[in-house]
Amino acid sequence: MAYADPSEAFERRSSTQVAIAHVIASPVIVKMAMLWLIMILFIAVTARWIMPYDYQQTALLSRLLPPGATGASGDFHLLGTDHLGRDLLSRLFSSIQLTMLVAVFGTFFGAVVGSCIGFVAARFRGWVDDVIMVLVDFQASMPFVIIALSVIAVMGTGNMLLFILLVGFQGWERYARISRGMTLSAVNHGYAAAIRLLGAGTFRVYLRHILPNILAALVVQVSINFPETVILETSMSFLGVGIQPPNTSLGNLLSYGRDYLLNAWWIAGVPGCAIFFTTLSMSIVGDWLRDVLDPTTSSGT
């Protein structure tokens, strides 16, 4: 309600126009959050080309330089250097790239798999539904990081693809719950029942009617899940059981910085703030999306 603008100005326009109108009408804080996310995405895509130095290049003479300092070889370091004299800005860009890669692919993977599991449960009901729901309940009550850690313990660290899938799997049970619940209620009571009575087949009901209707809820769930995926990945990398050197994620960066708080706070501060602002922006945008996409608040009825 806080963000929704139920003004009738949004009526009778294409969905793109409506989306743009919503963005323009959003509060300043949401715009700032979106700006931040766009910047992060831009960095993630172009990191390879915009980083000033090789992120692995060590320079032992230029160790622990503060932000804005010039190194022994005359190199300018906007964010300073780390304990091996590597340029922090370049390492930050590279880390953002990897963190976003894991988060985007992981979230996408988890969303698709989770939603499909929910559809399957709703479509087949019976024992299939029962088994899936027991697994969903179990997952909901078990901290995912524990499960991830036990898999890592066995499979070992360093397998990037496995790690992405594992991290992305976080939250699958919530997608499953949403797609199952909304499908069931649509099929049993609402418009889907009405359309079935007109003689429509399963595919038409699911693809043309149910999917577009629950897509909004799934998108909102993605916006909730995405920051959680970022936090899970960076936590695990921070703990040393996630992304392994020489690759680097924001979590790795932060964990190096922990040891230099006394004399080089920026090594931890810069990646920490990057993670924090990203998750915060995503939460703010997510809250706003939830209000905008909710037909009950945006229709004004």
């Binding site: 418009y191 009405a194 009575l197 003689g199 429509a200 038409r204 009617h209 037909p295 229709s299």
Partner: protein, 618 residues
């Protein structure tokens, strides 16, 4: 504003006097008057009916009188209760001392109006102790006594029940008992019986009347049902778009309405004697889009130029006659000409029509966690071509199950459901697709049965698409035709369900159902969520469709008056059994089954000469 809620000289003969009340909703710079310039007076022992359709501002008026509107609301004008004057922003402490003592209120949804996790006895006892300042022990005795006074069965036991363990009617009795706890001089009753079954409704109405006689309290009875007004009220104030448009005694208003809206409202009411309701075209303007002149002018047949530009002098709901109209109607309602009787028996030489749908000794079980639950059993009835069959019953009677059996949504556990001699195919089977072309459903809630993210037009076209009927252009043309025959303007095709009104939605659902030119339309409480003036228009539409397209109709409803105005045959259901089946007018004139008589007697009716409750007390 002046000082809040100041003490007045006690005036027990007039427990409520409202003058010039305007209530506005304010968010930021946006401000909109919901109730405008309303004046009312209730004397002790009087029941004033506050009548209007949704959005007329009747509930807001009551809430304002108790200071129950939220901080976003602003109030101008004056409200005097028996001892206190309520103004804008009264102090919380003073309001708390007024509420429950000078005026109490009961609500539509009694079950949701009680604290769900506290026992009835405790809620009642606490209220009595607080309002009467007695000890808990005494309060408990009084609470029990109150439950007896509201004729609660097993009052001692009920003290230990939670609200969810009681029925809607019992909870409303509890609410009334709570309202009586502070011996108020005034009771606001906001649609207290709307959610209840008719037989329960008539008991609650009797109760309110007898309590009024006993305590001499004044009652403001808010309702949209003129039949109920006729039964319980002494005087009436009719509200439209935030203003009182007419007031007077019940007899005068019912027999000789002077405002065109009042007349329209009365004409919209179906009656047990078969009056065919005539609705009012158009819809109530939204509060921020009210015209500068008379708000009813856009819907009024008699409107002249003056009506559009000038506001007629407001009517005052003080029991005396007044009307806010430049051109008030004269004379009696004079419902002289009997409408075409909907239930003409066929002459003997006509060929017997084909049977379309029939149930033969059908039963239906639902699976619940504790086993099977038999929803209906031993149902034998049939729908012939051209019939309009009403299936009547109270909640839980199994009337909706009949519709589900006929549509193939539920299987018969015993007996058979058949369509034109063949068993009704189950939903989801390939046979059902062809069956769907002949039998269609119009469900109760049109909003729920339309896809919120598809346009009205595409949804009306969809059945044609599903069944591969016509080319794209032909479907477009047919869509136009369907919209028109359902009384919708073609530009609504591009709208989404949440952009149009409830009545328009229901028309769209009907248009969609008609797309396949079905033989049978099954309407499951299809008008229950609509305002009476809109309901009347839908009934009109269904009658017209029946006449023009030879449509057979199964009309599932709780409202006997609607059955009478629309249907040729009636099936009365009670707890899963069919208790009476027959042609409409003979049954309504001389019901065979005592339950049917009871239903008929309980049904409030604007045309009845004496109130049905009198009959039962005789």
């Amino acid at each position: 504003m002046e000082g809040p809620a100041e003490e007045l000289k006690a005036d027990h003969s007039t427990p409520l006097e409202i003058s010039g009340l305007t209530v506005s909703l304010k968010t930021g710079a946006w401000k909109c008057a919901i109730v405008e310039d309303v004046s009312l007076r209730v004397r002790s022992g009087e029941i004033l009916g506050l009548v209007g359709e949704s959005g007329s501002g009747k509930t807001v008026t009551c809430l304002a009188a108790l200071g129950l509107l939220g901080p976003a609301w602003q109030m101008e004008g004056e409200i005097r209760l028996a001892r206190t004057r309520i103004t804008d922003a009264p102090s919380a402490g003073q309001l708390a001392s007024v509420r429950g003592r000078e005026a109490a209120m009961i609500f539509q949804d009694a079950s949701a109006s009680l604290n769900p996790i506290e026992k009835i006895g405790k809620q009642l006892t606490k209220t009595v102790a607080r309002l009467r300042g007695v000890s808990t022990g005494e309060a408990r005795e009084i609470a029990l006594d109150l439950l007896r006074r509201v004729e609660m069965p097993d009052p001692e036991e009920r003290l230990h029940s939670y609200p969810f363990q009681l029925s809607g009617g019992q909870n409303q009795r509890v609410m009334i008992a709570v309202a009586l706890a502070g011996r108020p001089e005034l009771l606001f009753a906001d649609e207290p019986t709307t959610a209840l079954d008719v037989t329960v409704q008539s008991q609650i109405l009797d109760l309110i009347k007898s309590l009024r006689d006993e305590t001499k309290m004044g009652v403001v009875f808010v309702t949209h049902d003129l039949g109920v007004v006729k039964e319980v009220c002494d005087s009436v104030a009719v509200m439209y778009a935030g203003r009182i448009v007419e007031s007077g005694s019940v007899e005068r208003i019912m027999n000789a309405p002077r405002h065109p809206y009042t007349l329209g409202l009365i004409e919209s009411m179906p009656t047990l004697s078969g009056h065919v309701p005539e609705g009012i075209e158009g819809q109530v303007p939204a509060p921020d889009k009210r015209p500068p002149g008379c708000a009813f002018a856009p819907r009024c047949e008699k409107a002249q130029e003056k009506c559009w530009s000038q506001l007629p002098l407001g009517a005052e709901g003080d029991g005396g006659d007044s009307v806010a109209c430049f051109f008030p109607l004269e004379g009696d309602l004079g419902r002289t000409e009997r409408p075409e009787h909907p239930t003409q028996s066929r002459s003997a030489d006509e060929p017997v029509p084909d049977t379309l749908l029939s149930l033969n000794d059908a039963a239906c079980d639902y699976d619940t966690r504790s086993g099977k639950f038999r929803a209906v059993s031993g149902i034998t009835l049939s729908l012939n071509e051209g019939d309009r069959l009403a299936v009547i019953g109270e909640s839980g009677s199994g009337k909706s199950t009949i519709g589900k059996l006929m549509l193939g949504i539920e299987p018969t556990s015993e007996g058979a459901a058949s369509f034109m001699g063949k068993p009704v195919p189950m939903l989801g089977t390939s046979d059902h697709v062809a069956f769907a072309r002949s039998v269609q459903l119009v469900p109760q809630n049109p909003f729920l049965s339309l896809d919120p993210r598809a346009t009205i037009g595409s949804q009306i076209e969809e059945p044609l698409e599903i069944h591969g009927i016509g080319t794209k252009q032909e479907r477009r043309a047919r869509r136009r035709e369907l919209l028109e025959s359902a009384g919708l303007s073609p530009e609504l095709a591009m709208r989404y369900p949440h952009e149009i009104s409830g009545g328009q939605c229901q028309r769209a659902v009907i248009a969609r159902a008609l797309a396949l030119r079905p033989k049978v339309l099954i309407c499951d409480e299809a008008t229950a969520s609509l305002d009476v003036s809109v309901q009347a228009r839908i009934i009109e539409l269904l009658r017209e469709l029946h006449r023009m397209h030879d449509l057979s109709i199964v009309f599932i409803t709780h409202d006997l008056r609607l059955a009478r105005s629309l249907c040729s045959h009636v099936a009365v259901m009670r707890s899963g059994q069919l208790v009476e089946l027959g042609e409409t007018s003979p049954m309504f004139e001389a019901p065979e089954h005592p339950y049917t008589s009871q239903l008929l007697a309980s049904m409030p009716d604007v045309e009845s000469t004496d109130s049905p409750t009198m009959e039962t007390t005789q």
